[in-house]
Each structure stands twice: as C-alpha cells, then as structure tokens.
C-alpha cells in the first residue's frame, strides 16, 4: 500500500508541477489504480507481511460489532455459532480457499473474476474486487466480506459488516497463514489446517523429486510484454526459489514491491535458462519471444525452454500453489531432458 501511495503521490506531484502542460496524466493515474491489481499484486505486496497478521485481528474484533449492529439481519445472528453464513469473496484467491476448506456453502456471492472451482462459478455476481461498490456489497447483507485489498475495509466495518483482508503474500508461509486465518474466520479451522498440511507435504515432495542441476539455473518470469517481472520476494517467485532457481529480477533491489519492470538489454545479458510467460492470454508465446529482436541469443530461447503458464494459477496464492510448483518441476524435467539429449 505504501508503495502505491508513493507512486500515486509521485504522479500527483508531477501533475501539480506540470499543471500547465500535463493535464492528461490524471487519466494514467486512474487507469493505474484499476489495472495494477489486475496485472500483478504489486500494489499490495509490500506491506503484506505486516498487514496480514494485523488484518487477521479484524474479524475477531468486528464480528461482535456486526452482530450488535445487525438488527436488520437477525437471521444471521441465530446461526452465528457456526460462523458467518453470508460470506462474500471479492478475491479469486480467497474464493478458491473458501471452497477448498469447506466454507463454500456459506458463500453467497463472489466477484466477477472468481472462476474456480466450478461450484464458485454459480455464485459469480457482477461485484468487482478492483472497483468495489460498497452499496452493492451491502445490498447482499453479508456477515463477512473477504478481500485482498484493504481499501474499502473501513467503510464496510462502518456498516457493521465483518471484514477479512488477505493481501498478496511474499512467502508460501504467509499464504498458508492466510488459509488458516480464513478457516478461523469461517469456522473451518480443522479443514484449513488439513489443507495447509497437505500443501506443505505436496510441495516438499515435489521439490524433493527434482534432482538439483549441476549448475544453478536462472529464470525470468514475464508478467507482460513490457517486461514487468516477479522477483523471489513474491509468492510466485517462491515457487522458483523453492527449487534453488536464480531469479534474474532479484538484481532489481530498489524495487521493494517485488514486481520490477525490467530492461530488455538487462534481460538479454542476464541470459536466463528458463522463461515463464504469464502473458500468454495477451498473445505472447515461445514463438513471439523468439521473434523479439536480440532475444534469439538467450539460452532459454535457443534451447526451447520458454513455458506458458496458467495465469490464474500463477497469480493466486490459494490452494493451487502446489499445482504451480508441480508445473515448475515438470518444466525443469523438460530442461534436464533437452540438456541430456
């Protein structure tokens, strides 16, 4: 959040100074606000470590408030013992977690980007997590709203609605903590603990199944064709770090958000052994990467080690993390085969 405010402030300052010439830039600012969460969780990443625990306290403190202020929703009070019965999720990640820990029946609505699992799709509404409309959310009379961005938390709590916020984490452990917190907030502590245990076991065994390469391999994770990337201090970067892979974006130390925009020259000279494309739905493919001027010299391109990833799995820190770790393992296996052959 701090990072985002800083950027916005920079732009705003620029506009102020440029008042006579730069009247166009507010457009860019507005768009930045809406697009940033879409392209990456960059805006919310920085404080995740500190914010996640803090927000976990929110449901505990605000749940009573919800019941005391909830004269209008007497029905939800009667079932309070079993946890919230009218949950709205405005984050695809948390939607997946809710259904994975058995809280799916308590969910009454999910945002327009939530598309997994199949049961969740039936509950998709036109509510948006990027441009949340407080009135529309309140209209569903929820007793818990699950978010990945704390922007509207104060307004919802003002209305007596309990809120749980889990921002994009920087490590797997933080992601697991969020699953456990969501379990506690919805009355599914046991299932959540079980899921986390399963994920830990799965990831450990997947990582153990891949033999360490003779020389350390380097990777480049591409978020879009302007070369925004993800370094090891992101949950997706952790999937590579788990295998001891070197992330070429880690050299961009100044970028605390974890999602630096890399320079094309720097990518080529870093010469990554593997490239993961998270922009396949925007038309990028191993072919388009190979066709980029100067990129033909990169080891990953020369050896056909450019992989298109499932963007949903790669941008969500929910129960499908292990799937992504498996995908990386499969890719590494292919690299080993092509190197051996």
């Amino acid at each position: 959040m701090r990072k985002h405010t800083l950027r916005a402030g920079l732009v705003a300052g620029t506009i102020l100074i440029a008042a006579c010439g730069g009247d166009d830039e507010p457009a860019a600012t507005d768009i930045a606000d809406t697009s940033a969460p879409a392209s990456a969780a960059a805006v919310t990443t920085a404080p995740a470590s500190s914010a996640a625990p803090a927000s976990s306290a929110a449901p505990a403190t605000s749940s009573p408030a919800a019941s005391s202020a909830g004269e209008t929703s007497a029905s939800s009070e009667t079932t309070e013992a079993e946890g919230p019965q009218a949950v709205i999720s405005l984050a695809p990640t948390h939607t997946e977690t809710l259904f994975a820990i058995g809280a799916g029946d308590q969910v009454i609505a999910v945002d327009d980007q939530s598309d997994f699992p199949a049961e969740a799709v039936e509950k998709v509404t036109d509510l948006s997590g990027f441009e949340p409309n407080i009135e529309a959310i309140a209209g569903y009379e929820p007793d818990l709203v699950v978010l990945s961005d704390a922007t509207i938390q104060p307004q919802l709590e003002e209305l007596g609605i309990a809120v749980w916020v889990g921002m994009a984490p920087t490590t797997f452990d933080e992601a697991f903590t969020q699953i456990e917190q969501l379990g506690a907030a919805t009355g599914h502590v046991g299932e959540a603990a079980e899921l986390v245990g399963q994920l830990r076991t799965d990831i450990d065994s997947i990582v153990a199944s891949v033999p360490a390469p003779e020389a350390p391999l380097s990777i480049y994770h591409e978020l879009d064709n302007t070369f925004f990337s993800a370094n090891s201090a992101t949950f997706i970067g952790q999937a590579y770090a788990a295998f001891g892979l070197q992330n070429i974006a880690d050299r961009a130390e100044g970028d605390s958000a974890g999602y630096p925009k890399l320079n094309a020259e720097a990518i080529i000279s870093a010469d990554p052994d593997l490239i993961f494309l998270a922009d396949g739905s925007f038309g990028e493919s191993p072919e388009t990467v190979a066709a980029r001027p100067g990129w033909q010299d990169i080891a990953a391109v020369a050896n056909d080690n450019v992989f298109v990833v499932d963007e949903d799995v790669a941008s969500r820190w929910g129960p499908r993390i292990a799937e992504y770790v498996q995908f990386v393992a499969d890719s590494l296996e292919q690299v080993a085969v092509s190197a051996g052959g």
Partner: protein, 380 residues
C-alpha cells in the same frame, strides 16, 4: 495570456524583421536572407548547434546502457561501422545485437518522438499565439488515449477487418476532434482565442475526455492492461518496426509545420494584422493544427503519453535563440530529439536491471527547468 501579447510585441528584433516581406502568401518557401538579429549566432550557427546536439545525444544514447559492451567499445564499433573506417572494437555478435537490435531502435524512436512533440508544441503555440499550449493541454494526447480505448473496446468488432492497425488511426481522429472541441469552446466563450480561455477550455475538455475514458475502462476491465500498456507506450520495448511505422508521419507533419514558419511569424503580430497582410489565417491554422495533431497522435501511439517536451523545448529555444519561427521550429525539432534521447538514458541505467518510465524523467528534469525558463522570461 498577457504574456503572448508581450512576447509578440517584444519580438526582440527577430520576429519583426522576418515579418518584413509583405508578400507572405505565395512566398511560403522563399528563404529570405537571414535577418541579422541581435543574437550572436546566425541562422547557420544555430542549425549547426542543433545538429550537433542530435549527434551527441544519439552517440550517448547508443553507447550508454545497462548491458552490452563497455561504452568505449561501442563507440569504437560505431566508428568501425562508418564507411572507410576499420577498427577492431573487440565486440562479439551477441553484444552488438544488444546494441543494435534492442538499444538503437529505442534511441532513434525516442529522438523521433521528442522531435515531433516539440515541433508540434511550437506549431500549436504559434497558431494559437499562446505560449502555454501544447499537445497535452489542447487535448490531443487525451483524445488519442480515448481513441485507443475505443479501438480496444467498443470499436474492436467494427475494426476487426481493417488493413491498418485501427488504434493509431482512431487515436488520431479522436485527438483531432478533441483539439477542435477545445478550440471551439475556447473561442466561443473567450472572444479572443489566444487568451486564458483556451487554456481553461483545454483543462475542461481534457477532464471530460479523461472521464469518458475512465468510464469505458471500468466497464471493460479485461482490456485495462492492454489500454494501459498502449498509453504508457512501448519506448522501452521499441523495435525497428516501430521506427518505420512513425517515421512517415513525423516527416510529413514536421515538413508541413516547418513550411508555415513565416506565417507563424505573422501570427505573432496578431491575427487581424496577419489577415491584413494577406495571410489566409483560418486555413493556415487548420493546416498546422491538423499536421501537428497527426504527428502527435502517431508518436503517442508508440511512445505513450510523455509530458513536458512540447512546452519546455520551444520555450528553451525562444529563450536562447529568439522567438522567430525560422529558428524556433527547426531548433525545437532538433533539441526535442536530443532532449528525449538524453532523458531516456537515466531510465535505462539508474535502476538497472529495472526500468524507470521516461515520463518520470522528463517531468523530473522538465518541471524545474520550466520554472527556470519562466523566471528568465519574466526577468527580461
């Protein structure tokens, strides 16, 4: 602004002299002998400085970067590539690929963009007789952004079969429409078109256009990233294809604006006076505005929205070389090119291996610089 009239009246010799020939209509191209002026350097001297600045900027742009060979090796290699020169620079093929395929198109494209934005700014300022007008203030850039948004959303199906890339074309049309609205609104309420009213009209129209664009984007979240990328530009991912794409537009619109340099000097005296002297005021204004808007929309389509160049560079030129358009226009073109090429260098190396957007650099350098220029102007 009062400033316009003042600067026109002040005219530090140059403007008044070049208005001298009383047959401005047909004598569009006639290069009348350079008026001496009070500046130390003659026309040739200034043009030489302009060209030198572009050469220096180009070389600096080519040799400085986060990767690739050491800077002096690149310089040697550049010399080696000149005809009749043979030097062993010790650069291998892969390193040269980085310089020539990745860095060079970006440098050249930056130069084209800077040149176009600066001369378009100078052209707008000339025809509107307003030193504050630039492609951004008039709404050309905002209009281009809205046009691109429309191309990616509502008009996507309609334009699916087009031979040409619809985004720049629609961006240009909407940009032109936006400038026209700004102009009509500014004129309708202000009486005098050169005044503050035009600036205020620009502010209002840009806000409106921006609001429409934001609304459309909110209805189409799935294209936000696409549109955002388009608006931010792809200077950092420039290829030679991009250079080929914009060069014709830049050349044509720059030539058209340059051809009107004498007419623009007439405008400085006043529209009525220009009309009295036989200049077709309305036609000149239309042609220059269309040319400048076409060029702006074309470069915005590859570079994204880069502020400040169109207003800072012409002001700087007027300050150092005088306000006559036979200097302001070509020097804006050349200094604009070198300014943007140089401004792009910090973006590449400061946060290596990450990028700093060029718009940040231009505003960071441009804003304080602009204030200095303004102070210098008011003191004289």
């Amino acid at each position: 602004m009062a400033d316009t009239a003042a600067s026109a009246r002040r005219a530090d010799g140059l403007g008044a002299v070049s208005v001298g020939p009383l047959d401005p209509g047909p004598a569009l191209d006639a290069d009348a002998p350079a008026p001496a002026g009070r500046r130390h350097l003659g026309q040739v001297g200034w043009m030489a400085i302009g060209i030198a600045s572009v050469v220096v900027a180009l070389v600096a742009g080519f040799v400085v970067g986060p990767a690739g060979p050491t800077w002096w090796r690149t310089a040697l290699e550049l010399l080696d590539r000149l005809p009749l020169v043979s030097i062993d620079s010790g650069i291998n093929e892969a390193q040269w690929n980085i310089v020539w395929q990745v860095r060079a198109p970006r440098v050249v494209l930056g130069g084209l963009v800077g040149a176009m934005l600066a001369i378009a700014g100078a052209g707008y300022q000339g025809v509107f007789r307003n030193p504050l007008v630039d492609p951004y203030l008039l709404g050309a850039a905002a209009g281009a952004g809205l046009g691109a948004t429309l191309a990616f959303t509502m008009l996507r199906d309609v334009t699916a079969g087009w031979v040409v890339d619809p985004a720049p074309a629609i961006a240009f049309l909407v940009a032109l429409g936006t400038v026209a609205v700004t102009y009509v609104v500014g004129g309708a309420f202000g009486g005098q078109r050169g005044g503050v009213t035009l600036v205020l009209a620009g502010v209002a129209v840009v806000s409106f256009v921006t609001a429409v664009q934001t609304f459309i984007l909110q209805r189409n979240v799935e294209v936000v990233r696409e549109v955002y990328n388009w608006i931010l530009g792809r200077l950092s991912t420039a290829q030679w294809d991009d250079v080929r794409l914009v060069t014709p537009y830049v050349v044509v619109s720059a030539i058209v604006v340059l051809l009107h340099r004498r007419h623009l000097d007439l405008f400085r005296v006043g529209e009525d006076e220009a009309a009295t002297l036989g200049a077709p005021v309305a036609r000149i204004r239309l042609v220059v505005v269309i040319a400048a808007t076409l060029g702006t929309a074309a470069v915005v389509s590859v570079s994204g929205l880069i502020g400040f160049v169109g207003v800072v560079v012409p002001h700087f030129v007027r300050l150092v070389a005088g306000a006559g358009h036979r200097r302001v226009l070509p020097l804006s073109l050349m200094f604009g090119a070198s300014f943007l090429i140089l401004a792009d260098i910090p973006g590449r190396v400061l946060t290596d291996p990450a990028e700093t957007p060029i718009g940040v650099v231009t505003a960071f350098i441009g804003a304080p610089f602009f204030i200095i220029v303004l102070r210098a102007r008011t003191r004289r």
